[in-house]
């Protein structure tokens, strides 16, 4: 009898509470909405420039450091970012560039002064792919389903109440086949993501951190990427020197690449 009352109370509470919650503008209604809100936290709508420092740790020790300048501009049609990525460091790579524009990807090497067309798969080679993937608007390229709410620890071991979302590639432009994604309830801050290959193999684990004011709102200015294939490899990314900057359309022409040095 007592149990019946509890159940009844729960049912009534659920009946009363759920509509109230769903009517609340603060609640991220669908999985797609949650991902879209997190996209807005990660990147602004306006063209911007960022200097990303990538530090590779091998077996816990810092080994390599890459510095990349990223010029990003949102395509109004696809709502996806077009990126120009310039290698600044290490010295052996300085001046190399990757142009990632819709489906046309080019790699430019100032040593050979030649631009080579690369495939969507080949764009994932090298550190420029990290900077590229971090600007992808996930809501555009993936279908999302809510797995449930979970409390997980962020990279600083703080508990975060998150929506756990399972995402699958929705088009050929999607960089990965599947992503598991944890987005903090209330703030829409992205906390964690897991990236899988076509065969279902876990490739990378990503933690966002360093939430600070940049480009008009609080955004994650650091990321930690754990390589699930090469277990000893961890990469940290610092998004520095971020500011809004117009990126002219001509910059996305491959013949412009040799002229871009030091813009």
């Amino acid at each position: 009898m007592k149990l019946r009352r509890i159940v009844a109370a729960l049912l009534i509470g659920a009946a009363l509470g759920l509509p109230a919650l769903s009517a609340s503008p603060a609640r991220a209604e669908t999985a797609s909405d949650i991902v879209a809100a997190a996209d807005k936290v990660r990147n602004p709508d306006q063209p911007f420039r960022s200097t990303d420092t990538l530090t590779e740790y091998v077996s816990g020790k810092p080994k390599n450091q890459n510095v990349l300048t990223v010029y990003a501009k949102l395509d109004p049609v696809t709502r996806q970012f077009r990126n120009l990525i310039l290698y600044v460091q290490p010295p052996r790579d300085a001046g190399k560039m990757v142009l990632l524009d819709k489906r046309a990807f080019w790699f430019y090497d100032p040593a050979s002064k030649a631009s080579v067309r690369i495939s969507p798969q080949q764009r994932l080679t090298g550190q420029a792919s990290v900077a590229d993937v971090l600007t992808v608007n996930l809501s555009m390229d993936f279908t999302a389903a809510l797995v449930g709410d979970e409390t997980i620890q962020d990279s600083e071991h703080k508990d975060r109440h998150c929506a756990h979302i399972d995402m699958h590639a929705a088009n050929a432009l999607a960089t990965y086949n599947r992503i598991e994604y944890w987005v903090e309830r209330g703030t829409s801050n992205p906390i964690k993501a897991k990236f899988y290959s076509d065969s279902g193999r876990l490739l990378k684990i990503l933690y966002y951190r360093g939430f600070r004011e940049s480009l008009g709102r609080v955004r994650p200015l650091e990321a930690i990427i754990i390589d699930a294939v090469s277990s000893a490899l961890v990469t940290t990314v610092d998004f520095g020197d971020q500011h809004f900057q117009d990126v002219p359309e001509t910059w996305f022409q491959r013949d412009y690449l040799p002229h871009l040095q030091g813009q």
Binding site: N64, V88, K102, S119, P120, I152, Q153, T236, T250
Partner: protein
Amino acid sequence: MRAIRVAELAILAALAGASSANAQTGDENKDLDRIPDLAAAPVAASPPATSGGGQSLYLENAFTLNATRSGFVVAPPPPSPTPWQELLFLDARKAWRLDSRLSLTFSGRLNLREEPDIHFPGQENVRLDLREAYLSWTPVDGTFFDLGRVNLKSGVALGFNPTDFFKTRSVVEPLSADPSVQREDRLGALMVRAQRVWQGGSITIAYAPGLYRPTPIYSDLDLPSLNPVFDRTNAADRWLIKTSITVHDDFSPEFLVYHEGDRTQFGVNLTQSLGNKIVAYAEWAGGDAPSLIDDALSYGRETGTIPQAAPSVLPDDPRRSFMNRLSAGLSYTTQSMITFNLEYHYDQTGFSQADWGDWFQRGQALARYGPATAQLWYIREYAQDQGEILSQQSAFLRFDRTDAFVHNLELSGFVNVDLYDGSGLTQLSADYYLSNTFTIGVLGNASFGDRRTDFGSLPGAASILIKLARYF
């Protein structure tokens, strides 16, 4: 009662789910154990946003050992390849911004070399390769004017670039046989270049004046020391107009018209992605031209290498006809990030199977090295000096893999096969990045084929190079 049972089950299921989720999130938190102690990391100094762009300075030491062949069908000209070479060079690329619209670019390499067949110390030990030195003016964004020595490259293929019209005589003394690497150290031509880039395409117009008379082909032993050798790059008036047009997001063909002396050539570059892992590309050039044999022999006579009155050692035909050159291929990147490039190369001016038959038959009849065999080898040297392929048809396969087997190890290699006789050249190179500033590498190549084949008849059989580079 039934409704209550369902509700009870729902609660139990929810509780079970919660406990399962808790178990999962517990697992999720285990990922944190793999994050290293970031406090141990060096503090990344935020570099100035414009540093590094396109500029580089490095010092490299390269030591090469060569193995030679013997028992030739056609005796090669002296000297035979040096058994070893020690090379130390400083390579620099630098640009100075003179004001907001004016800049100066320099690119060059200072070489110190030693090998058994040159005198030490002497001017042959020192060589400066002045690749580029030019002034750039940008009157408005998207419009560029360049004046000076400029390396103007065209083409989308890796192994052979029919539309790379300024490649002739531009590679001085390559350390690698990989055509895509040879592009990294070649001489530009004195020229004026204008370029306009807009949202849907670009147009480039370049004029390189003929300031010198054509000079004989240099050997490794008579390379000038500090002379910028403009005779290699400015021995004829040359014009190039090229334009690319964006037809749609994935397709931007490039069209070229090139004029040199009394010859005009046309060219096209096409690329197209096929799915996520494949890029297809094709590069074509065509125009009135003589065959390689005629071109080589007339150049030899013009430069005095071959006496004017000397009869042609191979059947020649001074008539010109429309000749095609083609490089068509695919690149494929695997899931494990190995990129393969497979290309078919065709040069109508090059040696046909009949030409090869004549070359060996004539050479065998001459038996010993003399003026006639020198002519035979001169044709091959000329093709190499011009950056052209020798046989009409060949195939090229290249691979490249970063982080191969171990982190920071880059492997690349290629095989180039003459489709008439199956002979070829193969090369494998490995670069290991010891740190952000030091790279160590090894490169080995070998030619294969029997004595009566394109590559099997070459004096050089194999070589191995060990290098250490320090970047600044």
